[in-house]
């Protein structure tokens, strides 16, 4: 298979195993490209991409923007804080206005779940979901799997534990779908209040004890505590959270094996992970960031391929 089975990238739930393989193969070629003296290819020189960020983002926005520029696409950036959204414009109106400027691909981050799906039904452009509320963040999950594959050779039969604030995490959901599709076993670990009630219906086990989870796993994907999404108190104090679910060097040294540490960023150093762990050889956090550009180039390239001239 040389084409994606989907017309938009709305979530990893919609992808097939072959799609992930194709994205990874293409990303490997782009990773070589971004390590050249001149890190740019002309493939998308006649494609225009709009980055619509209705929610704050640093890493994802920069990564998408860099990926688009490396592919020679023309780009326009939009962030809700500086726009007419504040004046009461609806999502479809905003997007249609942008589309009338002849945009081929939309990369969108939105605080509402399903915003990408909604948009894909109403506009003709290709949609790439860069995070919709606590639902999906497919490119993050793809780059996480790609980084695991790069480090361990394969994702199949690996044991991955996702630790922390699962309730507010789109990264967790997208990762669970993507990892299971590739044959990995996934557990989640965190305070009961931050584990969604129906998470086991996705085929993942819940482990409440951090040490047991770490002893079981090959890879620990540590998530940030998303204070900004917490309108109530989910745990007594940050100090208590860190004591029960924070990853530090001592706990890693107590394991009989060396596990891989991942984090989608931004890191709350000293809360969910200590600096000595985040900066250790076990951590592939910066590889994740580098791979993010290659993965996003691959996704954009493969979707652009479907747009006929």
């Amino acid at each position: 298979m040389k084409q994606l089975s989907v017309n938009h990238l709305l979530g990893t739930k919609d992808l097939k195993k072959d799609d992930i393989e194709l994205i990874f193969q293409t990303a490997t070629h782009f990773k070589e490209v971004i390590n050249r003296p001149i890190k740019k290819v002309p493939s998308l020189r006649d494609i225009t991409i709009a980055n619509l960020f209705f929610e704050n983002s640093t890493r994802t926005k920069l990564s998408f923007e860099l990926a688009e520029k490396r592919l020679s696409a023309d780009i326009i950036n939009f962030s809700a804080s500086q726009s007419s959204v504040k004046k009461g414009e609806t999502l479809i109106d905003t997007v249609n206005n942008i589309l009338s400027m002849k945009v081929d691909i939309i990369v969108m981050r939105h605080p509402n779940v399903g915003a990408g799906v909604f948009l894909s039904k109403h506009v003709k452009s290709k949609i790439i979901n860069a995070g919709d509320g606590a639902h999906e963040h497919p490119t993050q999950a793809l780059l996480d799997s790609y980084s695991i594959k790069e480090k361990l050779g394969t994702v199949k039969n690996k044991k991955i534990v996702i630790i922390g604030d699962i309730l507010h995490s789109r990264v967790a959901i997208s990762n669970i779908y993507a990892l299971q599709l590739q044959g990995a076993t996934v557990k989640v670990c965190g305070p009961t209040t931050l584990i969604p009630k129906y998470i086991t219906s996705l085929g993942v086990e819940v482990e409440k004890n951090l040490l047991k989870a770490l002893q079981w796993c090959d890879v620990a994907n540590v998530l940030r505590v998303q204070h900004e999404r917490m309108d109530i108190k989910y745990f007594p104090s940050i100090r208590e959270y860190t004591q029960l679910f924070g990853i530090n060097k001592e706990i890693l040294n107590s394991l009989k094996k060396e596990i891989v540490i991942m984090h989608p960023g931004p890191i709350n150093r000293g809360v969910e992970i200590t600096s000595d762990v985040a900066d250790s050889n076990q951590s592939i956090i910066l590889n994740q960031v580098e791979n993010g550009v290659a993965i996003r180039m691959a996704v954009i390239y493969l979707l652009a391929q479907q747009i006929k001239n």
Partner: protein
């Protein structure tokens, strides 16, 4: 070669005529190797770049001959994939599939020799000329091909070294088979039945 359709598919559809057999190819490869030595001496300032996917076989074979039969020791051989530089992205029904690029030496100020099996429209060479710029500014670029299909060029691109020149019409296909990928060294002309 620009249009890559598997040889077995073409063979089933078309009549096949042998243009070059293994002995012809052997002689031609040695001649091309000697011509390269004439212009590039010890290859200390020269790099060979095989164009993916099908130029790689020819590039590897020439390198072996230069090393074994002509004792040229300092050969730098790279592979260049041109997929992301092609001018027919989104203009074809079939999706494009990329191959590996591996150039682990400096191209800046080097004499580059592109190596491909068949020169047809010249468009893949045009793409390769753009692609190589990403690795630096070569002193010069030459083109070596096994088969030069005359009168089929879309662009003003000509080879500096050619194995055999052929006149074939557009509906015909020149197919190169190598020992390494098809168990036999031969060049065929395929025609519609």
């Amino acid at each position: 070669m620009y249009f890559c359709i598997p040889n077995n598919v073409w063979s089933a559809l078309m009549a096949k005529k042998t243009l070059l057999n293994a002995k012809d190819i052997h002689i031609i490869l040695h001649r091309l190797a000697c011509q390269l030595i004439e212009n590039h001496n010890d290859f200390s300032n020269t790099v060979l770049i095989g164009l993916q996917p099908r130029g790689i076989f020819l590039a590897n074979r020439l390198t072996q001959i230069l090393q074994k039969d002509y004792k040229v020791t300092d050969i730098k051989l790279g592979k260049l994939d041109i997929t992301f530089y092609r001018d027919d992205f989104r203009r074809r029904n079939e999706p494009l599939e990329a191959s590996n690029t591996s150039i682990d030496f400096i191209v800046e100020d080097k004499k580059v020799v592109f190596i491909d099996d068949v020169l047809f429209s010249g468009r893949s060479i045009r793409s390769a000329l753009t692609a190589i710029q990403s690795f630096g500014r070569p002193e010069s670029i030459e083109l070596l091909v096994l088969i030069d299909r005359r009168f089929s060029r879309h662009l003003p691109i000509q080879p500096d070294y050619k194995g055999r020149q052929v006149d074939v019409i557009n509906s015909e296909k020149v197919s190169v088979s190598w020992l390494e990928n098809n168990k036999k060294d031969a060049v065929y002309i395929l025609r519609d039945n």
